[in-house]
């Protein structure tokens, strides 16, 4: 199996960290072949930040995304720049607090930013809520793998908060539509 995951949001949401955690989960805990890349450059600071993760059972040659089949979208600009191009067969998980548009593919919604802010008390974990939702919707990595990779990647003292964020993402995700 091969998956190409495109993650986009605005700078500061932790989109790149999410892509690294997802890559680490697949590489270290699910023992897959993985390549994680990201868009650097000034446009990624405050503008639309973008991370790409390829997960494959076979060795990966070309490192860039060719045909993403999974999208994680956390901003309207990220949707317009990347999500709007999603092919009909793709799956998208979007933050329903921040993305107004809906794609032409199957999609799931999760109110990640409001849950992170009001319920968990830290808007900064919205990206982790999204990761929990993404894994529940797609099974692209195992739930054990995403938990361990998250714990390994977040600052000490925030482990409980992040595990809770993953859990709320899993619980709150709802089917949005078939596109």
């Amino acid at each position: 199996m091969r998956h190409e995951i495109l993650l986009s949001g605005f700078g500061g949401q932790g989109i790149i960290l999410s892509s690294v955690i997802l890559g680490r989960a697949a590489a270290i805990y699910d023992l897959k072949h993985v390549i994680q890349t990201q868009v650097y450059g000034p446009e990624a600071r405050g503008g639309a930040s973008m991370g790409g993760v390829i997960i494959d059972d076979e060795p990966i040659h070309y490192p860039k995304l060719r045909r993403p089949d999974i999208y994680l979208i956390m901003s309207q600009e990220g949707f317009e720049r990347y999500g709007a191009k999603a092919e009909a067969g793709a799956v998208m998980v979007l933050d329903s607090d921040l993305v107004q548009s809906r794609p032409g593919c199957r999609y799931f919604e999760v109110p990640a930013t409001s849950v992170a802010k009001k319920e968990l008390g830290k808007v900064i974990v919205a990206n982790i809520v999204m990761l929990g939702a993404l894994v529940r919707a797609t099974g692209v990595v195992s739930e054990g793998a995403i938990e361990r990779a998250t714990l390994e990647s977040v600052p000490k003292g925030t482990e409980e908060l992040n595990l809770k964020a993953l859990k709320r993402g899993r619980e709150l995700i709802i089917m949005g539509g078939e596109g």
Binding site: G23, R24, A27, I28, V34, Q36, T37, Y40, P63
Partner: protein, 367 residues
């Protein structure tokens, strides 16, 4: 034993350096190489090593050269604009036969160009950038595992031949993350030290490499960028001394090409053969994977310098060589000197990698 880790290329490079015994890093941060310096700054002090952020790249390479003379494995990391500044002292390192490792995470040039975008525009600069005749080794990794392994190898080659060795990576390989296997220990080839009584500090052995007269070991050695005799003393107007020295600086590397050069050969019977190094190798590998029936060949140069001029001959049926590079054909020009067949340079500027589709199209037209 190895440990599986998920690392960025630049971090893998820094980890490889530490595994190789590098305990001195001097540098000036520059995108897209900064993570190498960052990681060394964090790691080296804990290992009893030294990290110095210098005032610029000229000072950085100077500090690296000085550290090397105390016996430390020393390196710096930079990108094109920094490499340009280092050129004078790189010549000094070549002339004084100072082992050192220079990591160049290439970005678009000339000048400050494209800080965050990949390029292979420094390939000729690495080889010929300083004035005068000399020779160096350049390694070109195309993945995270190789960022680690080739950094280790760079230190070994620098010590073996007493030369600056370049790790010519690029923004794509430097910034991408992949799983890699980190070994418990790595092969280390130590510098051959001057210990023999009466032997002069720049007196070459049979392999044209002199034993290294470590500072602080009573050798009273004089280290100068001026043309020098085997004692290390300036001898600037004797044509024979200069010719002998410079020819040796070149020949100690060029004469050992078969020992130094590393390359991969895939489908040696192929008529249409891709040649690549660094990140574009990944695009070529994708083409070979996507079109297994076409029988395309692939020569991947792990050491663009010294150029293994016999390697293309491994493809006995080759009719055409296709050479994708993230520059306007810098190494294709070198390949052209060594083969009778046409060389199709496929330049790519701007920072993107050649797509497998565009390379496949070129190859199909050549079938």
């Amino acid at each position: 034993m190895t440990m599986r880790r998920f690392l960025q290329g630049n971090i893998a490079c820094a980890e490889g350096a530490i595994a190789a015994g590098c305990r001195f890093f001097a540098g000036y941060p520059i995108t897209p190489s900064t993570e190498v310096a960052e990681h060394m700054a964090e790691r080296l002090p804990k290992m009893g090593g030294t990290f110095i952020q210098m005032e610029d790249e000229i000072a950085s390479i100077a500090a690296v050269i000085g550290a090397s003379w105390t016996g430390k494995r020393a390196m710096t990391a930079t990108s094109g604009p920094g490499l340009s500044l280092m050129m004078e002292n790189i010549g000094y390192a070549a002339m004084t036969e100072t082992p050192c490792v220079i990591v160049d995470i290439q970005r678009g040039g000339p000048s400050t160009g494209q800080p965050t975008m990949a390029s292979q525009g420094d390939m000729l600069q690495a080889r010929f950038g300083s004035h005068g005749d000399y020779s160096i080794i350049a390694l070109s990794p195309s993945g995270v595992q190789e960022m680690y392994e080739m950094t280790v190898h760079a230190f070994n080659m620098a010590d073996r031949y007493r030369i600056p060795v370049f790790l010519m990576a690029d923004e794509i390989v430097g910034h991408m993350r992949e799983p890699m296997e980190v070994p418990d220990s790595v092969l280390i080839i130590q510098r051959r030290l001057l210990e023999e009584e009466g032997r002069k500090p720049f007196e070459p052995r049979e392999d044209l490499v002199p034993d290294f007269p470590l500072f602080g070991h009573g050798h009273f050695v004089h280290v100068t960028g001026l043309t020098h005799d085997e004692r290390g003393y300036p001898s600037t107007s004797n044509p024979e001394v200069h010719e002998r020295l410079v020819k040796r600086l070149v020949q100690k590397v060029e004469g050992a090409r078969r020992e130094i050069a590393m390359f991969d050969v895939v489908n040696p019977d192929a008529e249409v053969v891709f040649v690549s190094y660094g990140a574009p190798s990944r695009s070529v590998q994708q083409v070979l994977h996507d079109f297994p029936g076409e029988g395309f060949g692939h020569l991947r140069l792990k050491t663009p310098w010294p150029f293994p001029e016999w390697a293309p001959g491994r493809f006995e049926n080759a009719k055409t060589f296709i050479f994708p590079e993230l520059n306007m054909g810098q190494m294709a020009r070198e390949l052209e000197r060594h083969v009778d067949q046409p060389v199709i340079s496929v330049p790519k500027l701007g920072g993107a990698l050649h797509s497998p589709e565009e390379l496949a199209k070129v190859a199909m037209e050549e079938r």
